[in-house]
Symmetry: C2
Subunit: 187 residues, 2 copies
Amino acid sequence: MNYPNKKKPIKNVNNYANLGMTLESDIDLTNQYYLSHQIAVIHKKPTPIQVVNVSYPARNKAKIVEAYYRTPSTTDFNGLYKGRYIDFDAKETNSKTSFPLSNVHEHQVNHLSDVDAHGGIAFLIIGWSQYNEYYILFFKDLISFWQASKQGGRKSIPYTFFKENCHQIPFSYEPRLDYLSIINKLI
Amino acid sequence: MNYPNKKKPIKNVNNYANLGMTLESDIDLTNQYYLSHQIAVIHKKPTPIQVVNVSYPARNKAKIVEAYYRTPSTTDFNGLYKGRYIDFDAKETNSKTSFPLSNVHEHQVNHLSDVDAHGGIAFLIIGWSQYNEYYILFFKDLISFWQASKQGGRKSIPYTFFKENCHQIPFSYEPRLDYLSIINKLI
């Protein structure tokens, strides 16, 4: 058989519907790697759902027929690394210039603030989909931009701040997004 | 007005439908107390639900019309206390003599084992509804009974073991179930 020598160029598809989902699943894969290699125990919390009505079409099989998404009171990810409590959320932006603070909810900032106050490691993972770059934004940086924005300052964090002040997370096949390699340097 | 002198005896209602729910809501109240008094940051994880079908009867209002409960891969509660990672589940038994290990799922034991191995504080809160007593069963005790049961030993933990070896959690109005008072003695 004759195989063509020329590889077909892979189409660069920007699937906006999956924005955010990709980052989340990359983090899930990373956490599975951490767990199976006994590096850390970090899980995504389930999405909170308010169940209103359940039917039982068959024995022992509950079917939820009316339910609604609830606003989470905390962040999506937490767990344990080298005896330390880790807590974070993941955000993705399509902007090339700045990360809008409107992507972060007040209750998430409050929760990360509680975690920070009690000796946990609190941060956001920010994905820049236009650059395929991922950074850790520690709580102390987040809160200073957040408080400035509440006092009439800018409502976003410039990309240059990330480039100059934040740690970039290495992206590879396995582990996908090795964010603990950054945390490891700091503890 | 004449108030009767004799107090009516409060009926001792055993509402079996709420078994487990009561313990869970007592722990939720306790966690709210811990958070509002800046003692600890401990939350219940949402129940994991597999969403199959969502309809949009109105703008911005997603209504889940088909979904199913999934088996949790971890425990119900985790968080942070004095810089330490805390992880536990709550179980209630109606037995007067022993706590059946069938109340605990294998994945929960595995998760608590991971937590223990990585330096977290792992335990169960066991409620004895016939006695209105609550005990902390630390992972090391759970795992020794669990492993014995896998090797043909007894499938339950006797009440006397709790009385003689475990810390009883004080029950009061506020905080409802002060389990951290026990943890505090040990860290």
